[in-house]
């Protein structure tokens, strides 16, 4: 019942966020309509970071308590994080085409984001492919902790290195292209989409953990059947 309520709330919030992004938020003076992608680009980046942080915390908790449910949450969160990182990279690339005049450039932010994305894809392959349940859980938990280094590195990349990626919150590099000042309506829209994506993340995480529990239950039943 609570999950259904969260699912319906997420859907309503997404519809409202589309309204806010397309109608409520003003059109940016120089970039035009493509700037509206920014709201989903930032929100998906935030969710990717949150998802990988949850993977880090639950991996540590799994290693200290050996409770399998933490492993389920860690894996589910990493999978959602990969999906949102994909959305973040793709939306950024589409925004970059008219603004930077290229789909892709090996800028520090783009490079670190790609490394982070690949590291967590590898995490999912490890989780799916390693033999032996306990061994797999332990190895992926350690990997989930180590891989998290890429998250603050990606966040800080535009603040440490010389980059063309704009910094909306905080001071930007003078070489940044596509920089703009946010109006009050733009800030409200950004906060709304970030909140919407946060609710959406927890809803999807709940669904994904439920699927993982069902999968493990089925594996247990199959194991029992073969051993009887």
């Amino acid at each position: 019942m609570r999950l259904q309520l969260m699912t319906v709330s997420s859907l309503i919030l997404i519809i409202l966020s589309v309204y806010m992004v397309l109608i409520y938020a003003p059109r940016e003076i120089i970039m035009g309509d493509v700037q509206r992608i920014f709201y989903y680009h930032v929100s998906s980046g935030w969710i990717a970071a949150l998802a990988f942080l949850v993977t880090l915390i639950t991996s540590i908790m799994f290693l200290s308590t050996q409770n399998k449910s933490y492993d389920r949450v860690a894996m589910s969160s990493a999978e959602i994080g990969v999906i949102f990182t994909t959305m973040n990279i793709v939306s950024g690339s589409i925004w970059a085409r008219p603004v930077w005049n290229t789909w892709w450039t090996w800028d520090p932010r783009l490079t670190t984001a790609t490394i982070m994305w690949l590291l967590y894809i590898a995490y999912l392959f490890l989780h799916a492919g390693l033999e032996g349940h306990d061994r797999r859980r332990h190895i992926t938990a350690v990997y989930g902790i180590v891989a998290f280094i890429s998250v603050p590195l990606t966040f800080m990349a535009i603040r440490i290195w010389r980059t063309i990626h704009p910094v909306i919150i905080g001071s930007a590099d003078p070489d940044a292209e596509g920089q703009f000042d946010m109006t009050a309506r733009m800030t409200v829209t950004l906060l709304f989409t970030v909140s919407t994506f946060t609710v959406l993340y927890f809803t999807i995480l709940w669904h994904r953990v439920r699927i993982q529990s069902l999968f493990e239950y089925m594996s247990k039943l199959q194991y029992q059947m073969h051993n009887d």
Partner: protein
């Protein structure tokens, strides 16, 4: 030169962006839904065969 009230027309990129984001997120939701339905079906089949097996023994 760009004037203040005439921003560049980049709406086609916005449409492309929205379409791709909808495909990725929608695709993932469909994948989750299908996986859940299949697992539920498989679990009920195994539980049924297990109960038959238990009755026989």
């Amino acid at each position: 030169m760009l004037l203040e009230n005439s921003p560049a027309d980049t709406s086609n990129y916005l449409i492309l962006g929205f379409t791709i984001l909808a495909i990725i997120s929608g695709g993932y939701c469909i994948y989750l839904f299908n996986r859940f339905s299949k697992l539920k079906q498989q679990v009920s089949v195994i539980e049924k065969s297990n109960s038959i097996h238990n009755k026989d023994t």
